[in-house]
Every structure is written in structure tokens, then in C-alpha cells.
Symmetry: C2
Subunit: 333 residues, 2 copies
DNA sequence: TGCCGAGGAGAAAGCGATTTCACCGCTAGG
DNA sequence: CCTAGCGGTGAAATCGCTTTCTCCTCGGCA
């Protein structure tokens, strides 16, 4: 029977070059140690027949795909996108590709989704800031090798890249306090470790500055929620707003300006993350800067070590850098 | 000899359930037509042994991976990210995953990169706005099935999703002309079809409005270049700026505001794309709105049809919608 | 009762690489 | 001169699943 597919196989090349498939395989993978002349003949045949090894067959035979998965709650979120860009670039330099999966914020589906995509790849970079501890423990076991991004848990022992949101939030608050602000509004994010850590940072700050008051305003993770929070921010009487992240901050600023409340003259606003737009909006946004692309890159470093069977370096906790821009100023007299 | 890998295979399940591997395969894939009781027994065994089919083996046996590639010049560009999000979501709903590759604007590497990633996937969505015609023709032949995004070429006959930049640019210019502007600056993008089409649109506009003058200012694709163009924009004496895209527009606005030139009172600025931030910046950006997520979704529709061997619907050319916001106003008196 | 057709299930042949192991010829050492 | 060792090469097993093809059984009809 004729071959099902019409593609050139290693056997065709072997026949054409007058060698065995084993030799072709060795030449194609740079593991050939014999006569250079033989290798050249094989390469010539491959070129002539435009032979490209079938990746599916290779993956099968070698038991690995040279691809990793990247699972995020929301691919539309710029900070995850930057992580993805860094990850993809770093992995690409080592011949690995990144397959993406977006859980669309459906936290309960994440373990299944992760398991599914893991079966197609050699490993997974898990960005699951809101997954429950229990699910996380189970997931990291099933999914190994795993690298965790934007999520830390003492219960798991996989490489972890996180941001010290606690310190970041505290730093932002202290900075505002230093400008003279005493009444703050915190526009919260969705429940999860990120939000909790910011709250811890604010608690640290309150301990440090007993004269400060922080009003908590419900928010979310996107700019729409920031806009929606503007009214309550105004009602709070705060002179400084700490937003969950840059997206929310952008929404808050937008909402305030729409209501003709000047920023920062009347109310100062800070974000978190330092997404690319933060510096370009008007007023440019004071924020806690996190190098998300580096985070993606380091995630790959850790992953690559794991895949090679090495023990990767320690977890890293990024210290956000206070990036002072124009959205903050002393409170109105 | 003991099995190399310790994972449960279809044979284990077959033995456990007292049936043949063929039956297990049929049950797992919903192609089993025999006794429901047998199917249930197989499912029970699979559950008990926590059996998951080896995807590499499946891909190999079936000759397909259920994954598609998405090649972009720059994963950090928000408009591509939105396309990716839409594509990934739509494909995911049909059980397909998206593998990303970023050419990092290295146009000459794109054909090779595309070929490499194509071998790992069943198809590729190619976003190559700057690839040469010749390379494009060759690439689309080698890569089939292919869907082209943000790139049209009469020389290829693959499904294509594009934006009518020409009409979009003309619409923006006419709108500004209607506001009373007569002297325009166009901050150009990187050479490529996108830029060329905007130029055509501006030429259409000039034919329509002979009293208008357009000064061309070199730019780029990112906000930095927009900022950098601000001085030359000022020097041009233009009262209205058409920027290559939103990113550039954001940079231009930022640059102008930094130089204390009020937007839109002194100079109006427009973008192109309507990225999520356009509505939140201050002033909010007047732009030609393109539903990039829908574009990604439709790209998947076309691709899915292609994969199933159907003939997909016609190419679509999105007509950008003029989105009037606050960055534009009549010229100063 | 006998035969035929249909349908359920298994045996086995791929899929296309990698990789182990065996073989062969040559060289060097006893 | 014989043999042990080694480098170069090929034969063949292997990876785990899908799918075809065959076989067997059972029911219906003459």
C-alpha cells in the first residue's frame, strides 16, 4: 500500500543517500561521528528531497515536545502579556515554544485546563493568582515540572517568581504619607493573594503611620471597575487613592477627570505594575514598577533548569521599584 | 523488559477492563457503539488507574496536533495581543490550542520561523504585515493551511482578515477637515502595507480636500517614536496630527503635553486601532476603531473551516469605525 | 434446520522518528 | 598470527495510540 501521507520520511532520505535511517537520524541531530563525507551526502539528500523531520514523530519517539504551556487567568491583561512576551522570547532562544491557555478568570476550571494543556507540553508555567491553596498543591503535583508566577504558596516546593506586593503597597502608601496625605482610599482588586498582600502592606503602613486612615473601596482588576469606583472614592473624602493595579488606577483617574476632579491637584492616584502605558497617560502614573518581562524570562530560566533535571535557583521575590510620576502630589491645602 | 516510562498506557486500561486496546480507544474517543456496559467498565478502569491518553502518541497516530501557530512580529504590541486573545479563546472552544511565536520584528527570519513552528502545529495564523510579497507567496504555499491577518496580497489565495486602513485613514482626515483643520501632520509607521494603506487613504483625502496640506513626519510603531516625533510635529505647524496607530498617538500626545502644548485645544491628535487604553487616556483618544478580538475570532472560524477541509467564507475587510473622543477639536482660532 | 447478514470486538498493522544492540572490519598488542 | 578492542554502521525494537480488517456470534428468514 502507498504511504498515507505524501510527505518525505527519514526512510526516503536514507534510501536516497544510500544509508540507513539510523544514520540519517544521527546526522540530522548532530550526533553523527563517522565519515564527514557520509554526513554531507545525507545532508545533500535531505536538501534535495526537502526533507523535514516530522515533529510529531520526534515528539513521540523522544517523549517530549519542546513546548511549554503558559496558563493565565486573562490573556487580555497587559501585565500577563508582558510576562508572556518575556517567557516566549527566552524559551524561543532555547528552541522551546510556548502554548497559551486562558482560563478566562474561571478559577474552578483552571486545574482541568492545566492538566489538559500539560499533556500536550513538557511543562507548565502557571499563573494562577486566585487558585485555592488546595487546588494549587494538587495541581503542582500533577503538572510537574511547574514554575509558578505571581503566586506563592508555602505548601508547594516549585520554583516561584513573585512580586512583593506587600512591600510595594507599603512603599506607595509611605510615599503618599510623606507628601502629606492622611486620608487614603484603597480600591481593591479581586480576592486573591495579590489583593491580600497589598492589604498586608497597607496594614504595615497603618502600624507605621497611626495618623493615617484607609478607606476600602471595592474595585476589580480592570479599568472599567476603576471608573466605577470613582464615585465612592470621592465620597470617601480621601486625598490619595491606592489602586489595585495600573489598569484600575487608569480607570480611577479617568473617572475623576470626567467628574472634573483634577489629578493630582485634588486627589493623588497610584497604580501597581508599571504597565507600558503608565508612563504615557496624562497625568503619567505613579506606580510600583515590576519588570514583568524579566519575570517571564526568569520563569524560563527556572523552567529550563527543571527540564534539564537540574535544581533551579531559589525563588525570587521581586521588589517593586517606586516609580514617581505626575499622578501624585501633596494634598490640597 | 519493564516499560521505560511509568505512565499508564491504553494497554494497562485494556487489561484492567478485560477488553482490547482498540475498544479502550473507541470508548475514550466516543466512537464506541457496542454494549453500554462495556463502555462503562472501560471508563471505570480508566478512572481507577487515572489513565490519560498520551497526547504525543495520539498526535503521532492521527497525524495532527490540535494546535495552531500564531506568528506575530511583536508580541508586546497590544493590538496583536488582543488578536491573540480572541484567537486563543475561539480556538480553545473547539479544542485547539495556540502556540505563539514572536519574530521580534526580524522580517527576514519570519519564513523560517513560520516553517519551524508549522511543523509543530496543524496550521498557522500569520500576522506578517511587513513580509515581502515574494516571501509571502512562498510562505503561504509551504505553510498551508494558513490564514492571514493584517495582511492582504492579491498574489495569494488564502483566507485573509484585514482592516481597511485606507478608508480608516481617510475617514479620520475627513473628520478633522470637517472640524476646520487644514494643515495636518502624519506621523508614519514602519514601512509595510499598513503604512502604505494609510498613505493611500490620505491621498484619497487630499484629492477630496485640495485645500488641505499634509506634512509627513517619520515615526514608528511604538509610543517612544511618538514622543520623539513631537518636536517635528510642532515644527510642521500642523493643527491636527494623524498618528500611525494608537501607540504612536499616545506618545505624540504625551510629548505635546510635556511641551505644554494643550491637546486638543492647540493640536488635535488621532490614533488608529482603538486599543483598550485609548478610551482611558487623558484626553481620551479619537481613533479608528478596529475590533481586534473579533478579528482573532474570525481568523479561527476561517482556520477551522480550512482544517475541516471546507472552503471558508470570503475574506473580510474590516471597516474601522470612527471613534470620536476628546483628543480632537476644532483648530485654534 | 440451515444460511446469511449485521454488528460487536479483537488482532495487528501502521504512524515516523530515536536508540539500543549487534555486527563487521580494522588496528594494535600479546 | 591470533585476538581483543574499537569506531562506524545498520537492523530492529520501541514509543502509545488509531484504525483497518478479520473473525465470531447472534438473530432473522427461508
Amino acid at each position: 500500500m502507498a504511504r498515507r501521507s505524501s510527505a518525505i520520511t527519514i526512510a526516503d532520505v536514507a534510501k536516497h543517500a544510500g544509508v540507513s535511517p539510523a544514520t540519517v537520524s544521527r546526522v540530522m541531530n548532530g550526533r553523527f561521528l563517522g565519515e564527514p563525507e557520509v554526513a554531507e551526502r545525507v545532508r545533500a539528500s535531505a536538501r534535495e528531497l526537502s526533507y523535514w523531520p516530522n515533529q510529531r514523530a520526534r515528539s513521540f519517539a523522544m517523549g517530549q515536545t519542546n513546548a511549554i504551556a503558559f496558563l493565565v487567568p486573562d490573556l487580555a491583561n497587559p501585565s500577563f502579556q508582558v510576562v508572556l512576551a518575556g517567557l516566549s522570547k527566552a524559551a524561543g532562544d532555547d528552541g522551546y515554544r510556548v502554548m497559551v491557555a486562558d482560563s478566562a478568570e474561571a478559577v474552578e476550571d483552571e486545574p482541568l485546563l492545566a492538566a489538559e494543556i500539560r499533556r500536550r507540553c513538557d511543562a507548565v508555567v502557571l499563573c494562577a493568582p486566585r487558585m485555592s491553596e488546595a487546588a494549587l498543591v494538587q495541581a503542582t503535583e500533577m503538572l510537574a515540572p511547574v514554575v509558578l508566577v505571581h503566586r506563592f504558596s508555602p505548601a508547594v516546593s516549585v520554583p516561584t517568581l513573585t512580586v512583593d506586593s506587600r512591600q510595594g503597597a507599603e512603599g506607595l502608601a509611605r510615599y503618599l504619607h510623606g507628601l502629606g496625605h492622611r486620608r487614603f482610599a484603597y480600591v481593591a482588586g479581586p480576592s486573591g493573594v495579590a489583593n491580600e498582600n497589598r492589604l498586608r502592606g497597607l496594614a504595615d503602613f497603618e502600624a507605621f503611620a497611626p495618623d493615617a486612615q484607609i478607606v476600602h473601596v471595592p474595585g476589580g482588576a480592570g479599568s472599567e471597575q476603576g471608573v466605577a469606583a470613582a464615585d465612592e472614592v470621592l465620597r470617601s473624602g480621601a486625598t490619595a487613592v491606592l489602586a489595585f493595579n495600573d489598569l484600575v488606577a487608569i480607570g480611577v483617574v479617568h473617572g475623576l477627570l470626567e467628574r472634573e476632579v483634577p489629578v493630582p491637584e485634588q486627589i493623588s492616584v497610584t497604580g501597581f505594575d508599571d504597565i507600558p502605558f503608565a508612563r504615557y497617560m496624562a497625568p503619567s502614573l505613579t506606580t510600583a514598577s515590576v519588570p514583568q518581562d524579566v519575570l517571564g524570562e526568569l520563569a524560563w530560566n527556572r523552567m529550563h533548569a527543571l527540564i534539564r533535571g537540574e535544581t533551579p535557583e531559589h525563588n525570587v521575590i521581586f521588589q517593586p521599584r517606586l516609580e514617581v510620576r505626575r499622578s501624585t502630589a501633596p494634598p490640597p491645602a
